[in-house]
C-alpha cells in the first residue's frame, strides 16, 4: 500500500490469483512438460542484458526521485483530474473517473483489444466440445469437502464481483476487476464440478456474443452522444444534469467493460482448459 494504487493492486490480485495460473498450467498441460537442455551458450544474452541494464540504470540517475511531487508526471493533466474530477464527473474514485470518462476513448480501445484477443484465441483453437471424464480417472468426484467449500464460496465471489462492478465509482473497483472476479467464480465452479456442469450455467457459444455485447454497450453510449450532436462518449447528454449524465455514462460503460472482460476470460479458460492433448 506504499504506492497508493488500490485499483491496480486489486486488479493484479484478481488476475494473478484467479486467471494467470490456470492459463499457464493448462498451456503447459497442452504442450510439453519438460524443456530441452539449451544448446546455446548464455554468454551473449547475458552480455546484451548487462549492457542494456547498465544503460537503463544510468538513465535513472536523471529521473525524478520516488514520490517527488515536482516530477513531470504530476504537472499536466494529473492535477486537473484530481481537482476537477470529483466535481465534473461527480464520483469520489478518481481512477474510475479518469478511466471511464476522461480517457473513455482509451478504455474503449482497451476493451476492444480484449475482445479481439478473445476472438484470436477462439480462431486459433476453437471451442472444444466438453467430454465426460472417465470415472476411474476422476478423483475430484470424491472430494466432498472441496465441493462443499466451493459451493459456499461461489455465491460470495459472484456477489462480490457485482459489488465491485457497481460500487466502482465510490471505492476501488470497476468493470475490469469485476469481470475478472466474476469469471474466476465460474472458473472455480468448472474446476470443481467439471466442464459439463459449468457449460450448463453458461454455454460456451454465448460467450463470444456476450463479449461483443459488452463492446456494443460501450460503443452504443458513444454513438448515442454522437446522435445528440455531442462528441463521441460525451456522457452529459444521458441525463438533464451533466454530472448525473456522467454518472450514468460511467455506469453503462463500466457495465460494458465488465461483460466483455468476463466473457473473454471465461471463453479463454473454456478453450484452453477444455482442449484435449494431442500427441
Amino acid at each position: 500500500m506504499d504506492l497508493n494504487a488500490v485499483d491496480v493492486a486489486f486488479t493484479e490480485a484478481a488476475v494473478g490469483a484467479g486467471v494467470t495460473i490456470v492459463l499457464m498450467l493448462s498451456s503447459l498441460y497442452l504442450t510439453s512438460r519438460w524443456e530441452a537442455t539449451p544448446k546455446h551458450s548464455s554468454f551473449i544474452p547475458l552480455l546484451v542484458v548487462s549492457i542494456t541494464g547498465a544503460v537503463l540504470v544510468y538513465a535513472t540517475l536523471d529521473a525524478p526521485l520516488h514520490g517527488d511531487p515536482a516530477a513531470a508526471v504530476h504537472q499536466h493533466v494529473g492535477p486537473r483530474y484530481i481537482e476537477q474530477g470529483p466535481v465534473e464527473v461527480g464520483m469520489p474514485n478518481m481512477v474510475t473517473a479518469v478511466l471511464a470518462s476522461y480517457r473513455g476513448f482509451d478504455t474503449f480501445g482497451e476493451t476492444f483489444v480484449i475482445f479481439t484477443a478473445g476472438l484470436g484465441v477462439l480462431l486459433l483453437l476453437g471451442i472444444p466440445t466438453p467430454h465426460r471424464p472417465r470415472p476411474e480417472l476422476n478423483t475430484i468426484e470424491e472430494e466432498v469437502v472441496l465441493k462443499v467449500v466451493v459451493k459456499l464460496l461461489i455465491p460470495l465471489i459472484l456477489l462480490y464481483a457485482l459489488y465491485v462492478q457497481f460500487h466502482g465509482d465510490f471505492g476501488a473497483g470497476g468493470g475490469f476487476q469485476a469481470g475478472v472476479i466474476f469469471a474466476t467464480g465460474l472458473i472455480l465452479y468448472d474446476l470443481a464440478f467439471g466442464e459439463i456442469e459449468a457449460r450448463k450455467v453458461i454455454p460456451a457459444r454465448w460467450l463470444p456474443r456476450l463479449a461483443a455485447l459488452g463492446v456494443l454497450i460501450y460503443g452504443g453510449v458513444g454513438v448515442f452522444s454522437l446522435l445528440k450532436n455531442k462528441p463521441f462518449l460525451d456522457y452529459s447528454v444521458l441525463a438533464n444534469d451533466p454530472v448525473h449524465g456522467q454518472h450514468l455514462g460511467v455506469l453503462l460503460v463500466e457495465l460494458g467493460v465488465g461483460i466483455t472482460v468476463f466473457s473473454v476470460i471465461l471463453l479463454i479458460f473454456y478453450i484452453l482448459a477444455g482442449r484435449r492433448r494431442q500427441s
Binding site: M1, S27, L56, G67, V98, V121
Partner: protein
C-alpha cells in the same frame, strides 16, 4: 521505517525488466519466452505505478480533509494494461499450443530445423523423405 533511496524502485524495475529480457532472448522454449515477456511487462507496471506516487499523498479516492492524492493517471493506464496483458498472453499461449500441435515441440531450434527440412523437401521433393512432418 527506514527511508528507501529515491531511485530504488527504478532499479528494481530495471532488474526485473532485464531478467524478463534475458529469458526472452536466451531461452529456446516458447512457453518460457512468454513467461519472460510477462515478467518484462510486470516491470513496466511497477515503473508506472512508482511514477504515480506522491510522497504524503493518499490513494486517489476523494476523502474529506485530504488534499494530496497520488496521480490517478498511471493507475488507470496500468489497471487496464493488466487485463489486456492477460488476454494477450492467452493469445500467445494459444499460438504456442497450435505450434506444439503442428510441430510436436515448443523448442525454437527444433521448429526451425523442421522448417528447414520442409523447405528443402518443397524445393527438391526427391531428395528428402523424412520431411513429412507438416500438419
Amino acid at each position: 521505517m527506514i527511508e528507501i533511496p529515491g531511485l530504488y524502485n527504478y532499479w528494481v524495475v530495471v532488474f526485473l525488466m532485464m531478467a524478463g529480457f534475458y529469458v526472452v532472448i536466451s531461452q529456446g522454449n516458447l512457453v518460457k519466452k512468454l513467461v519472460g515477456l510477462s515478467l518484462f511487462q510486470t516491470s513496466v507496471f511497477i515503473f508506472y505505478i512508482s511514477m504515480g506516487k506522491i510522497s504524503g499523498g493518499a490513494a486517489p479516492i476523494l476523502v474529506e480533509g485530504i488534499t494530496t492524492y497520488s496521480n490517478p493517471l498511471p493507475h488507470v493506464l496500468i489497471l487496464t494494461a493488466i487485463v489486456v496483458g492477460v488476454a494477450t498472453t492467452a493469445v500467445g499461449l494459444a499460438l504456442v499450443i497450435r505450434i506444439y500441435e503442428a510441430y510436436g515441440t515448443v523448442e525454437e531450434d527444433e521448429i526451425q530445423k523442421q522448417d528447414l527440412v520442409d523447405d528443402a523437401s518443397i524445393e527438391d521433393p526427391a531428395s528428402t523423405s523424412s520431411g513429412e512432418k507438416d500438419k
